[in-house]
Symmetry: C2
Subunit: 301 residues, 2 copies
């Protein structure tokens, strides 16, 4: 599981900082999460093969999470994309994109599917053989969802020496990886545990931005491997955080602690701060494994 | 008159090139022309005090001329702008911007005025004491206008030694600058030519992008000081230029020649070319005063 932060600053794009967007690679799938202005250039800067992205998740319709989307959709068109593109986001997102395509008399040469979200409860919005994506209802000034990405149960690892030793035919390998015991020709039953190693544990990633401190998300993100939680402000601006429905670094850490997350990645910093190091310091007073998200930073888990 | 090219490449923004946007400073007014994605960051990179912009002119609703506008409108809001902002562009531009503001539940704290254009004839869209702006109907795949910026007739320059010599009272100075003769108390009439110097000539700038080669614009831009004319392609791609309703560098030069322009600035280069130097070479075979527009370049006239 690999996370690349394309942008993790609040509000206005600047020369040196970018609004929210990130790429999650999980089981060889590439998901784009949020798409602030300039995301397509950030994708290029970070040398991400963005033709591989087929699913884009938009948390909410504030510009710093959205305004790069129509440009990316158009660029895919100009690059001759043919693969389907799925966009998940709040109701209204389809109208925003299609109005602009219509008025520019430009239609995509690929299929563009919108999955508009309206539920206030967590729901599964994407699922295939490897990954499941659920919404995380957040509390912000407008309708907002975070997203939980979970690897699905992985198959067990074949102990190649053991299967060769028992002279088991290759046609049974998939069955063994799925967890079955094997009956040999002489009638002996070999338990699966003698033929396999434990699988890699299934990993999970929760993206939570933008939101007030909100314990209602805890059951959804419990035991998550990596929690990205917005920290727009430091505790010195706690009143402003409350007023604008954002969180402080300390609050992000409190959520990570209560959710029993393994790692916390911070981001969505207000551009009022000269250095972001204090966000890490503040969060570490509550929770130990804090990673400071920053534009262009990649994390492997 | 000062022109800053924020971006002058066609289609898709990339790491090193930006879509169309430029700032024209004329008589201490600052006009923004077109607003591709990333324009607000380009304004910052080029250290332009963009709070001084009150009038934005959008040629057409293709993304590479438009997709940065909603972000700029939002940023003005976040920066606490109070001054009015006027946006001139094709019909539909108001719906595009207001839909996005509505769905993000964000309204500007300043007055935002849309001046939607539909005429296929040249018309005056802005006028004050110093500058007049007219549309230049262009031929492109969708409804498109260029813009002609003209300084208005300037007042004559006072010859301060002459007026002091005749002991003329200061209350008459403005009248003299406006061109009047003066009758002294002793009855002598002093002709204006003895009291003033010729004014600075009025300058003009024509922005023409995107367009097919189109001689119908010639009467509107005749004798212009500076013509920015798109040159998406070189003559080797003349067929493609025709098909996509763009121009070649040679065609841009031909328009400059026939319009008796003093200078030609090229731009809107397709990103297929490794170097833009050939655009200048090609145009110079037709017209002598060719300037190669490039992102971050400023020209004073």
């Amino acid at each position: 599981m690999n996370l690349t932060i394309l942008g993790c600053y609040a509000a206005t794009p600047r020369t040196i900082t970018n609004p929210t967007s990130q790429v999650l690679e999980i089981r060889n799938r590439m998901f784009l999460i949020d798409c602030g202005e300039g995301t397509q250039v950030q994708l290029r800067k970070n040398k991400i093969k963005f033709s591989k992205i087929s699913h884009i998740f938009i948390s909410h319709l504030h510009g710093d999470h959205l305004y790069g989307l129509v440009g990316l959709v158009s660029t895919y068109m100009l690059l001759g994309r043919v693969a389907d593109l799925h966009i998940y986001g709040p109701k209204g997102i389809k109208e925003i994109i299609t109005l602009q395509l219509k008025l520019s008399n430009s239609w995509t040469n690929y299929n563009l599917y919108f999955h508009e979200l309206t539920s206030k409860e967590s729901e599964t919005v994407f699922e295939d053989d490897n990954v499941i994506v659920k919404t995380i209802p957040l509390k912000h000034r407008i309708y907002t969802n975070g997203f939980l990405f979970q690897e699905k149960f992985t198959e067990r690892k074949l102990d190649i020496n053991a299967v060769l030793n028992y002279e088991i035919d290759q046609v049974y390998y998939q069955k063994i990886k799925n967890g079955s015991d094997i009956t040999l020709e002489d009638g002996r039953v070999i338990p699966n545990s003698e033929l396999t190693f434990d699988p890699e544990p299934s990993k999970s990633y929760a993206f939570c931005s933008d939101t007030l401190y909100n314990e209602e998300m805890l059951p959804i993100i419990q035991d998550v491997d990596v929690l990205y939680h917005e920290s727009t402000f430091l505790e010195t601006e706690a009143v402003l955080a409350q007023k604008t429905m954002h969180s402080t670094a300390k609050e992000a850490a409190r959520i990570a602690l209560k959710a029993n997350a393994k790692n916390l990645v911070l981001g969505h910093y207000s551009t009022r701060y000269e250095s972001i190091l204090k966000f890490k310091e503040e969060a570490e007073t509550i929770f130990p494994n804090v990673l400071l998200g920053n534009d262009g930073e990649s994390f492997s888990f």
